[in-house]
């Protein structure tokens, strides 16, 4: 079985999804989904250990060797991402039973879990495959289930948000398809490893240049890089709570993975950064994203919207790290990916608890919540501290390495701007703290109890992870450094 781990990682959730239809009752289906997600998590841990011990794992699907067949190629980066995705998925599912019962109509609950497993399988398929077209197929599996999941939100604006995401996402996917087609035309292959070998000889043609352009733009649409981020705030704000917690922590990471994979492993670092002024472009867009999004966050009255804009800002940070173009910069980006998943997962899940108890996430309804829901608000406070980058939280660790990488590269202004961005984070998180702790509850709100254990347990698992990995950074550093070095070693 051990040799088949790479394919099991994807197959287990993929085939579990239709199996849910056979199971019928939502209670059973939830348990089944949770077990499947936990199994996927264990597989990802095993894969990571295998890769760290023995190097890149190659798996030929159908028994056909690449490039005639599709192959799975697992290196540290893939394994890290599988770990993040499955880990967040499992923890979030712990709270899903009661959350979904409250937020979604009964006859649709089973369908919710099917779609959830499909999006999980889709994401895992994207991060484990070594074939460019396979990426497209699984990207669409993930995207379609995400559109449907978001549209299940109660508010009618969820429908509109989902539609916008569908249009923008499909344009992005079509661009990626065009890019893959152009690359195929010039090299004759779809396998990423093979492409990396064959692209250098045709690298100077205009066609490859165009292919590169379309791929990057397509991926950036999915990544919600400023200014292509327009779909994200509404989609995160109006989706069901569990969906937001899951997607916010994982969806854009997958797009970022694609960006890194294509620019480093397929096109090669030297091509990617010299053909187009990608470094300058990305650092500018990244910083613009940080500031524009953070400032918009300050004016939001809906807390989910606020944190959604904050996510756009965090993606900006990740892009800045990526644009530095050194191993240190890439390592900082990967670290921030890991940490952001923990931060936002905790925050949105806690918001889900609030939604469950008071039925709203408007800032004005947060008054006095500090006393009525102490554990939940404490979780939000810790998560916010992590966002700002206070020492002892994961947020601090990744900001530290980001600034370090910038300084190492001689980019002093960038380092300063990164720190300024954190100040803005203080402003928008203070608004929540102020409302919850320093304002008296409104007259009509009545008795609000603390969130049930189903919510508190997973929220605090994530919050503790925030603090744990903020203090003991050995594991996260070791893995991200290995991943970053692997990428630099591989490319031509």
């Amino acid at each position: 079985m051990l040799a088949h781990l790479p394919v099991l990682q994807v197959i287990v959730p993929l085939l579990a999804a239709p199996s849910c239809i056979i199971l019928r009752r939502p209670g059973w289906v939830w348990l089944f989904t949770l077990l499947v997600s936990a199994a996927a998590f264990l597989i990802s841990i095993a894969l990571l250990r295998q890769v760290m011990a023995s190097g890149v794992i190659v798996y030929e699907l159908g028994g056909w060797e690449a490039p005639w067949g599709i192959e799975y190629r697992i290196d540290t980066l893939n394994a890290l991402l599988s770990l993040i995705i499955t880990g967040i998925s499992t923890v979030v599912l712990l709270a899903a039973r009661i959350s979904i019962q409250a937020e979604i109509r009964e006859d649709r609950q089973t369908l919710f879990y099917v779609l959830y497993l499909l999006s999980l399988a889709g994401m895992l398929g994207i991060v484990t495959t070594g074939d460019a077209f396979n990426v497209f197929v699984f990207l669409e599996i993930f995207s379609l289930s995400a559109y449907a999941l978001i549209a299940l939100g109660r508010d009618r604006r969820a429908l509109w948000a989902s539609y916008q995401y569908l249009i923008m996402g499909s344009i992005g996917a079509t661009f990626i398809l065009i890019g893959i087609g152009l690359m195929y035309q010039m090299t004759g292959t779809l396998n990423m490893e093979d492409l990396a070998r064959r692209l250098p000889e045709v690298a100077q043609t205009r066609t490859v240049f165009t292919a590169f352009g379309f791929l990057i733009v397509g991926i950036c649409l999915k990544l919600a890089l400023f200014p292509l981020h327009l779909w994200l705030p509404n989609a995160y704000a109006y989706a069901p709570s569990i969906v937001t917690a899951f997607l916010a922590a994982t969806a854009t990471k997958v797009a970022l993975y694609l960006l890194i994979r294509f620019t480093y492993s397929v096109f090669g670092g030297s091509f990617s950064f010299t053909t187009l002024p990608l470094q300058t472009l990305f650092v500018v867009l990244g910083l613009l994203g940080v500031f524009a999004a953070s400032m918009t966050a300050i004016y939001q009255k809906n807390v989910k919207h606020l944190f959604a804009y904050s996510s756009v800002a965090q993606i900006g940070y990740m892009i800045v790290g990526y644009s530095i173009g050194t191993t240190a910069g890439l390592m900082a980006t990967l670290l921030h990916m890991f940490n952001h998943a923990l931060m936002k997962g905790a925050l949105f899940l806690a918001l889900g608890a609030v939604m469950y108890r008071i039925g709203s996430v408007q800032l004005r309804d947060f008054h006095g919540l500090g006393r009525q829901m102490p554990f939940t608000m404490a979780a939000i406070v810790v998560g916010s501290l992590s966002l700002i980058g206070v020492p002892l939280t994961v947020g601090f660790v990744s900001k530290w390495y980001l600034v370090l990488a910038a300084i190492e590269n001689g980019w002093w202004p960038v380092a300063v701007l990164i720190l300024l961005g954190s100040l803005l984070a203080i402003v928008y998180t203070w608004k929540i703290v102020e409302a919850a702790y320093f304002k008296a509850p409104q007259a009509g709100n009545g008795q609000v109890r603390e969130a049930p254990l189903s919510y508190l347990v997973p929220v605090w698992i994530l919050v503790s992870a925030n603090i744990y990995f903020g203090i003991d950074t050995r594991l996260s550093l070791q893995v991200t450094t290995a991943a970053a070095q692997g990428l630099f070693g591989a490319g031509p």
Binding site: A148, R156, W160, S170, T174, I178
Partner: protein, 117 residues
């Protein structure tokens, strides 16, 4: 050169028509039609790549030994399916939006949302 590449240029024009319809129009159903046209044009592009002068359909038959490249055909079969899946979902969303908002024009929907906030 023109003779060698005219096929691709026509395809690009078709793609841009589809793309324009998607982003310029406000009617939700029209956007999806545009998306469909955009994607179909991409398919035509891929199939053009696979074409070989003097070749025939990639089904092994007596008497022929030059065949069109089967790989893009496979990719496009998959892409067509993905396209219809997206179209179906998009249309379903448009129908739900019509029910919930009473309209499927982008501007009207945004107006109603703004009035609520």
């Amino acid at each position: 050169m023109f003779l060698g590449l005219y096929n691709y240029w026509i395809v690009v024009v078709l793609m841009m028509i589809g793309f324009y319809i998607v982003i310029a129009h406000g009617n939700l159903v029209k956007k999806i039609v545009g998306l469909n046209i955009f994607q179909t044009s991409v398919f035509i592009f891929y199939i053009s790549v696979s074409n070989i002068d003097g070749g025939t359909a990639p089904i092994l038959t007596e008497g022929f030994n030059r065949y069109s490249n089967p790989l893009p055909h496979v990719l496009i079969l998959t892409a067509i399916v993905v396209g219809i899946a997206t179209t179906a979902l998009g249309l379903a969303l448009a129908m739900r939006i019509r029910e919930a908002y009473g309209s499927i024009e982008e501007e009207e929907i945004q107006q109603r949302d703004n009035r609520e906030c």
